[in-house]
């Protein structure tokens, strides 16, 4: 197990290293660099900037260094000091902009996944056991709609319904009075009151995927001989289903855990933008619209880190519940 863990860990670190290079490349992709923006800000009054001055600023920003050095500058700050540098458009540290958005993003991810699994597993199992029943068709139908309705549209529609029929917007994550207050129990409850909307929106698409996986997996399993054998031995039906095929059907859920994280991370920004949620994805879009790739790159990297971490955990859990995985490497 230690060997396996180590291999997964090294794999994750290599992945993150290459990802960081790609993301740093994206940071530098837009035309113009930090020096241009800095100078444009500084000399907005209209005074002339000499080429020499530009060169001096470039030098001081380290922009004349080769790519790999600039990358190392960036990544070493993150590794050793958890410092993502300065925002390009306003002179604020990226860390400060991110603030507790990361916590909120993490909460949203896990709440969404929890909701997904809590619903997908029982419904998927039921659908498979009562195949072609009306309930099965109903859930499959809902699943299809969930797949086809883009998240941001779903959020928009919920927003419209809430304004049109309930007279209040479901946007935001806190009531005004808690927005700038410190964390307290009351604030946490307030958060929960607002959070069900993004979680339902994000959960629906994910639920549809998981429902199909669990159902398909169960359908494969319930006809296998070991199930028949157990039934022949007189194992009660409920116990039979939960004890044997369900266990098998859970494996793909564990192994796709990281992909679920990725899906939520991928869908969340636009939903957050529509619902005005102060989480990472929203900041990502806002900073991209502002061409502030320093902030955007930091967020992209954090998202990748969350994914890689999730992948690592799911690999370990999978190895623990299904020993065959370990041998395969």
């Amino acid at each position: 197990m230690a060997r396996y863990t180590l291999r997964r860990l090294i794999g994750g670190i290599i992945t993150l290293t290459v990802v960081s290079v790609i993301i740093f490349w994206i940071i530098e992709l837009p035309p113009g660099d930090a020096a241009d923006i800095y100078l444009a800000k500084k000399f907005q009054g209209g005074s002339v900037v000499s080429l020499k001055e530009i060169e001096a600023v470039r030098q001081s920003f380290g922009l004349n260094d080769p790519f790999i050095l600039r990358w190392w500058d960036w990544i070493s700050g993150i590794i050793f000091h958890w410092d993502f540098g300065q925002s390009l458009t306003n002179e604020t540290p990226v860390n400060k902009l991110i603030g507790d958005r990361m916590l909120l993003t993490t909460i949203i991810i896990f709440a969404t996944l929890f909701l997904t699994y809590a619903l997908a597993i029982p419904i998927g199992v039921y659908s498979a056991v009562r195949r072609y029943s009306i309930t099965d068709y109903a859930f499959t139908g809902v699943g299809y709609i969930g797949l086809a309705l883009p998240n941001f549209l779903f959020a928009l529609i919920l927003l419209w319904i809430s304004v049109r029929y309930f007279g209040s917007s479901v946007g935001g994550l806190f009531s005004p009075q808690y927005k700038d207050a410190g964390w307290s129990i009351a604030k946490t409850f307030d958060l929960l009151r607002h959070m069900w909307v993004p979680i339902i929106v994000l959960g629906t698409a994910n639920l549809a995927f998981q429902l199909q996986t669990v159902r398909a997996m169960m359908l494969d399993e319930v006809n296998k001989l070991y199930v028949t054998a157990a039934r022949a031995r007189g194992v009660p039906e409920v116990r039979l289903i939960t004890k044997y095929p369900v266990r098998q059907a859970l494996n793909p859920i564990i192994s796709t855990f990281a992909f679920d994280i990725n899906r939520v991370l991928s869908d969340a920004p636009v939903v957050a933008l529509v619902l005005a949620l102060p989480e990472l994805g929203q900041l990502l879009i806002l900073s991209l619209l502002d061409q502030d790739t320093q902030v955007a790159g930091a967020i992209l990297f954090i998202m990748s880190m969350i994914y890689v971490l999730g992948n690592f955990v799911s690999d370990l859990v999978l190895a623990a519940v299904d020993p065959r995985v370990k041998l395969g490497g």
Binding site: I14, L16, V19, Y132, L147, L153, L156, L288, V308
Partner: protein, 471 residues
């Protein structure tokens, strides 16, 4: 050899041809692969319906200019933020398709509340194949025919100032205005009512003596009601029909959606082919050569996948310079979609190649001295071509979706180019949604397209493999 299995498969929906199964089996045993795929596909009823819907989309892609009654930027200034106009085919009895006259609010004229009544007292007939704005078909020929419209006669347009409780500053008849201080003035539309024919009567009580020859404004010099609105302006304007309403600038939503459908479908297709091309190369090399090449490519795929897709697309699209033309943005958006989306295709192509690697016919080709390119393209690709089609059909919705998201948040295509995402941009704000919920209409087109592609993909997947039991 395995055909009987195909036919004996218990299936819930009956085969479409009523031939005895034996006859069908005889026909099938001589059928080409594509014919068998078609026969099986036909059984999947939802997939058939989806294919029909998608062919409508394809028609729109080619003939958007013809189907759309107006241009993308054409404005109907008398019908700003106008709700969808319902085409009626029943008017106390069967009637030719027509639309009723409409009111739109304009607001903000002096202190009062003004609104425009379009087509007062004249129901506009919907006509087929009318002359309208000129369009060109792929630069080949020019035409000014449109599928439907309202003809080109002028219709009366009356701008009316609603009675307001405050004393009208710019009003010439202050005596009448000052008396309008009752509850009725809360509703600016209270003084305007439709008669039984759907025409508007301006003035208080709906006088049922609708006289089609004179305009309602002149007949309703009602002195009995104190909510008499004031006519500011009477004019004529060309008629319009807006089956899905208009936006804040009075642009026809239906026409814009038709054009947007063209853009979104084309860009999705372009992205899909970029992804297909990359997937074919990487997946092909990976699956055919194996070894360390395979290892490197697989790690590369893992790395690309560990950055969340849509944020990655957004990050790349944010690098578009502001001064790029829309064609350039279109082109590069498609490339980005492909760059991010190729991994799924590459994985599938690789796994298919790996399973075929040891088939006799591949070994034979290799022994006969065929080069890798020839083996892959001539011997292996044709055997799993149908799977590729399936994968492409499943992948397409993601392309459409990514483009919509990108344009929706303002990082993709920019106005005046319209795509589904660009159109939905207008509907981003709650206030806008509240006033003009019909701006959400493009969402319906997106959902239907994605749903149809999902079902089509399912149907194709079942059909593409005639020997496999579908679960």
């Amino acid at each position: 050899m395995k055909l009987p299995k195909l036919l004996s498969r218990p299936n819930s929906n009956p085969p479409t041809n009523t031939d005895p199964s034996q006859m069908a089996a005889d026909q099938l045993s001589e059928a080409t692969q594509w014919h068998m795929v078609w026969v099986r596909f036909k059984r999947h009823r939802l997939a058939m319906i989806s294919a029909g819907i998608l062919s409508l989309y394809v028609l729109v892609v080619f003939f958007a200019d013809f189907i759309a009654p107006y241009g993308v930027t054409t404005r109907d200034t008398n019908y700003l933020k106008g709700p969808p106009e319902i085409v009626k085919i029943w008017d106390g009895g069967p009637a030719r398709p027509h639309i009723d006259s409409q009111i739109t609010t304009r607001g903000g004229i002096e202190d009062g509340f003004a609104f425009t009544v379009k087509g007062l007292d004249s129901n506009q007939q919907i006509r087929w194949f009318v002359h309208g704005e000129k369009w060109t078909f792929l630069g080949l020929f020019e035409s000014d025919f449109h599928l439907f419209g309202v003809g080109d006669e002028q219709i009366p347009v009356v701008t009316v100032k609603a009675p307001s409780s405050s004393n009208g500053i710019g009003s010439s008849s202050g005596a009448e205005d000052s008396s309008t201080t009752d509850g009725a003035s809360d509703d600016p539309f209270a003084s305007i009512q439709r008669d039984e024919d759907g025409r508007f009567q301006i003035g208080g009580a709906a006088t049922t003596t609708a006289d089609p020859t004179t305009t309602a404004v002149t007949t309703s010099a009602s002195d009995t009601v104190n909510t008499k609105p004031e006519v500011i302006e009477t004019a004529t304007a060309p008629g319009f029909v807006h089956v899905l309403g208009t936006d804040g600038l009075g642009r026809d939503q239906f026409s814009r959606i038709m054009m947007a459908t063209r853009t979104s479908m084309t860009i999705g297709l372009a992205g899909l082919f970029t992804a297909f091309f990359l997937g074919l190369i990487f997946g092909g090399v990976s699956g055919f050569f194996g070894g360390w090449v395979d290892y490197v490519i697989q790690r590369l795929i893992e790395i690309v996948r560990s950055i969340p897709t849509i944020p990655l697309v957004m990050g790349l699209a944010a690098a578009f310079p502001q001064d790029w033309s829309n064609q350039k943005i279109f082109f590069f958006t498609a490339i980005i979609l492909g760059l991010v989306g190729w991994t799924t295709l590459a994985r599938r192509i690789r796994s298919m190649l790996l399973t075929l690697q040891d088939e006799d016919f591949v070994v034979a080709a290799r022994l006969a001295g065929a080069g890798p390119f020839r083996i892959v393209t001539r011997h292996m690709l044709p055997t799993f071509f149908s799977y590729i089609v399936v994968t492409l059909a499943i992948e397409f919705p993601y392309m459409i979706l990514a483009e919509s998201v990108l344009s929706f948040i303002g990082l993709g295509l920019r106005p005046p180019t319209v795509s589904w995402g660009v159109l939905l941009q207008d509907a981003q704000k709650v206030e806008v949604l509240e006033q003009t919920p019909w701006l959400l209409a493009p969402a319906g087109f997106i959902v239907v397209a994605i749903l149809a592609f999902n079902f089509l993909g399912d149907g194709l997947r079942d059909a593409a493999d005639p020997y496999q039991e579908s679960s």
